[in-house]
Symmetry: C2
Subunit: 349 residues, 2 copies
């Protein structure tokens, strides 16, 4: 498959807090990102705008409009913004139409399905371009009831469980997959969220599944990955202690039926984001995940991935040491200090 | 609100195993059921057909067709069958059209939404009748994110948790609600499945919610019930050890945020229906539910509801004694031996 040339629409949101999808694609996609569109930051280099001149987005220009992005010869417009309500802002409709009319394919992570938008679907049809709504569950998995089928013998399924949303579960899963591949292992990253799906080109949008069918959808994906790879790194979602999303988390754990768990945490986060719910000590989080897995198929937490983004190096190392002390398990920040110790703990050599 | 006069469509399925919805409505609806439609059992009395001449359905005739049911002057046709695939069988389309054309309202628990069926919607509009798809989440609750709002002080929320699907959770919740009302308490039954919704006229279809919004939808319903009633009996779904539906169960528990739990079990059931998963001892099931509740808000199992349907009386009493011995908690079959001991255990006097 040839590389896509992607322009990312991130209007007004191209910063570390809000542009999770854009940053993920810039950092991990094997396609080429040729431009980021955010009129509020036009003229900057994407890496500079994110605060790390040598980080993701280095050499990628931020432009003000789709028209300007077209001068960089993209073949795909990727909508990386997440507006309130999940709909395409009307102000951007004309721009998206212009991209389709210029022959670009469209990749969208919006809740609102763009392929069902009469105008956009019509323009795409007339110009022979594709609209891919990554949040639409595939027909094969959308209404699958979980069967409890064992994975291929010899495969190892690893689930990345978190203390909260947005602590680095996807990043940890991708970093372990990349490190396993560097070690020459047969390894695959199994995405369960829109950003992961955009990066990998496959996966399931867990948050759009009807409750009854989530574990079956996850099982279907994992059975397929376990046929293809010896090591399957399943992106986790939410947290079992999250007041709103714990059910999604349990659906993924029971659906994936992992052999091993990696606990993911962001250093210095003390409460569930947006809620008055304290995050308990990591040893208690480990116990909670092992309880839940154990109801159906026992699995142990064997390592801790700590996201130390923004901390000075000494504080980052202190955070890892604290995590190891609290849990008695190896800990690393896979972005900053490498995924090696975590892979070692899994026995993936 | 005046009583409805209901004809229940249960074609080919009017028996204890398959007609859960029809039996539930016959037993608990405060409306009048004037006929059951099942051509394979036409001419029988509904109670006789269910095997208990003095039980639910006594005096309700089984007829062969909608036309025949119309002679009993119904104002509502309730679709109580659950065909494979969740669609209206084509053989019954003409009958349903005839009912709408005769001025009957339509209540459907099918997965396929009948109000979206062009022909049925058109007939209903022309004849001024209503189509109510009970499996459609209400607009107010369908995309609600859980907030973690405390219930009204003085309210008591009770969740009915099960060892498996279809063990009697809805029945136990309704029986406790009825017994609480007999005791003069302020009490409400909060349904989470299609049969409960048909009986109570309100509630949420948990199995149709998008995963992200299930806990929020449950919370929205329970907050409302806790404003209106001192005792709120929340119908449970599935089981935390169910290979396919555990996520729905956790979404209900964390969404309802109960103060107390009642464990529901069917005597002599040893495995999850349809799966090679043994049901552990009741004391272990109690521990599992208390673990899960405790991650967010501690709640204790305080009583066990045992469904002894079909057992001779001595075996039924043995099953209750065994449940009490295993758990150290009061046990009763609320249908057979009364809900009193269970209400006492909740402290609802």
């Amino acid at each position: 498959m040839s590389k896509r040339r992607i322009a990312i629409l991130a209007e007004g949101q191209f910063n570390w807090q809000d542009a999770k999808t854009a940053v993920g694609v810039l950092r991990y996609s094997t396609d080429d990102v040729v431009a980021v569109i955010d009129s509020t930051r036009a003229g900057q280099d994407a890496a500079m705008a994110l605060g790390d001149p040598n980080g993701a987005g280095r050499g990628v220009p931020i432009v003000a409009s789709v028209a300007e992005a077209l001068t960089r010869d993209p073949d795909t417009l990727l909508i990386g913004i997440a507006p309130i309500g999940g709909r395409l802002p009307e102000a951007w409709r004309g721009e998206v139409v212009a991209a389709l009319a210029a022959g670009l394919n469209l990749v969208s992570g919006l809740h609102h399905m763009l392929a069902e938008d009469a105008e956009l679907a019509d323009v795409a049809r007339r110009h022979g371009t594709q609209i891919w709504d990554v949040r639409r569950p595939s027909e094969a998995l959308a209404m699958r009831i979980r069967a409890g089928t064992p994975h291929r013998a010899g495969s190892h399924v690893v689930y990345f469980c978190g203390t909260d949303c947005n602590v680095g579960k996807m990043t940890a899963a991708i970093e372990l997959d990349l490190e396993a591949k560097r070690r020459g292992l047969s390894s695959g990253f199994a995405p369960t969220g829109q950003t992961g799906i955009m990066i990998a080109g496959e996966g399931i949008p867990a948050d759009r599944f009807i409750s009854d069918f989530l574990p079956g959808g996850v099982e279907g994906m994992v059975l397929d990955f376990a046929e293809r790879y010896d090591w399957v790194f399943v992106e986790g979602q939410g947290s079992l202690i999250h007041p709103a999303y714990s059910a999604v988390t349990l659906g993924l754990i029971h659906g994936a039926a992992p052999d091993l768990l990696v606990l993911c945490h962001q250093a210095n986060r003390t409460h569930i984001h947006g809620y008055d719910v304290p995050i308990p000590p990591l040893a208690r989080m480990r116990e909670i995940y092992e309880q839940a897995a154990g109801w159906l198929k026992p699995a142990r937490v064997v390592a801790v991935a700590v996201n130390t983004y923004g901390l000075p190096e000494d504080e980052a190392r202190d955070a890892l040491a604290a995590a190891e002390r609290e849990t008695g398990l190896p800990a690393s920040d896979p972005v900053r200090f490498g995924a090696g110790p975590l892979l070692d703990a899994l026995g993936a050599r």
